[in-house]
């Protein structure tokens, strides 16, 4: 029988010396961590390298994890810190989604159609263009706004969880998300609206 352990149980087992529980945690979270880092850094190689860096840190410091918060908020905090310090090192604003990745989105653009729109090639082209605009708009946000926005929208973290990840108040999270969305709305205004079913 295959047992499904909770994160807390796996952390306990790891602390007790069961190294296999680390593998289960990696398998459970690798895609989410990779997706967040990819969203922030916009590069596959960096996403791979930094994701591994995150789990190396988890392996190294998991015994110090006090379990006051959930394992994944602690994990995302490590991921965010690693991304921000990597960004500082690079000291330049790269594109969060490269052109090759955009073409991948184009291939899967069927996912991008709006709920109330009929599926047509013309629509697909419009959606592809819109996807590019959205990604470029997200990329233009400041590091902190972008990271907060990505964790909220990609990982569906609550404001409380985001506050734990960023070690700030819920009010700060509210304000960051409000600013991020307003900036996105301003930038995307010409591409959304009545034309797209509003």
């Amino acid at each position: 029988m295959h047992l499904i352990y909770s994160d807390e149980q796996l952390v306990e087992k790891f602390k007790a010396g069961d190294k296999d529980s680390f593998r289960i945690l990696v398998e459970r979270y690798k895609s989410r961590v990779y997706n967040i880092i990819y969203g922030i850094m916009g590069n596959r190689d960096e996403a791979e390298d930094l994701s591994q860096e995150v789990f190396l840190n988890v392996y190294r410091f998991l015994h110090r994890f006090k379990e006051k918060s959930k394992f994944y908020t602690w994990l995302y905090r490590i991921a965010v810190n690693i991304c921000l310090s990597a960004r500082k090192k690079k000291n330049k604003s790269g594109s969060i989604f490269s052109l090759t990745e955009l073409s991948e989105v184009n291939n899967t653009s069927g996912k991008m159609e709006l709920a109330d729109q009929s599926f047509s090639s013309q629509k697909m082209l419009e959606n592809m263009e819109l996807a590019c605009k959205i990604k470029s708009a997200i990329n233009s946000l400041s590091e902190v706004l972008k990271t907060t926005f990505i964790l909220r929208e990609f990982e569906d973290l609550s404001y409380q969880e985001l506050a734990k990840v960023f070690q700030c108040s819920r009010g700060t999270i509210k304000s960051r998300l409000s600013r991020a969305r307003e900036e996105l709305r301003q930038k995307l205004k010409p591409y959304i609206g009545e034309k797209n079913g509003l």
Partner: protein, 152 residues
């Protein structure tokens, strides 16, 4: 609630992160205000589009690659502990410890020497004191004697 206040809270409203009182006030306002409800629609649409961006996954074999990096790290830790690499890292600590020991030794030596030197001084001083005291007393006797004879 006016438009300015409502627009500030639209993002939290969208995420259902406002309290019940605020929620009902915003709802009331949105019923009357087309501009604000249009803005909320735009935010909803952006949210819906962002959430539809396909998520990225690492290449297969992620754990194996991680595992080999982990082994490399553990190897380098052992090397650091038992190899030259670690000795060089320890060098500043060893230097600090050696300096402390040296300073303490010099200080103790100085204290010991100064105490032994002061012992010799006391001895010499005592001898000299006795010698000069005797000299002084004989001199005093010599100078006083003629005066006494005169008085007599």
């Amino acid at each position: 609630m006016d438009c300015k206040k409502v627009r500030k809270k639209l993002s939290s409203y969208l995420d259902n992160e406002v309290n019940l009182d605020q929620k009902s006030k915003i709802k009331e306002h949105l019923k009357k205000c087309k501009a604000c409800s249009y803005q909320l629609k735009q935010l909803r649409q952006i949210q819906s589009l962002v959430q539809k961006i396909p998520s990225q996954k690492p290449e297969p074999g992620f754990y194996e690659r991680l595992s080999s990096r982990l082994s490399e790290k553990e190897m380098s830790l052992k090397e650091r502990l038992f190899g030259w690499g670690y000795s060089w890292r320890l060098f500043p600590r060893i230097a600090i410890a050696a300096s402390i020991v040296l300073i303490l030794s010099v200080s103790l030596l100085y204290i010991w020497r100064s105490s032994s030197i002061s012992g010799v001084n006391i001895e010499v001083f005592q001898k000299e004191y006795i010698y000069y005291s005797n000299e002084m007393s004989s001199f005093a006797e010599e100078s006083v004697l003629p005066v006494l004879l005169e008085i007599k």
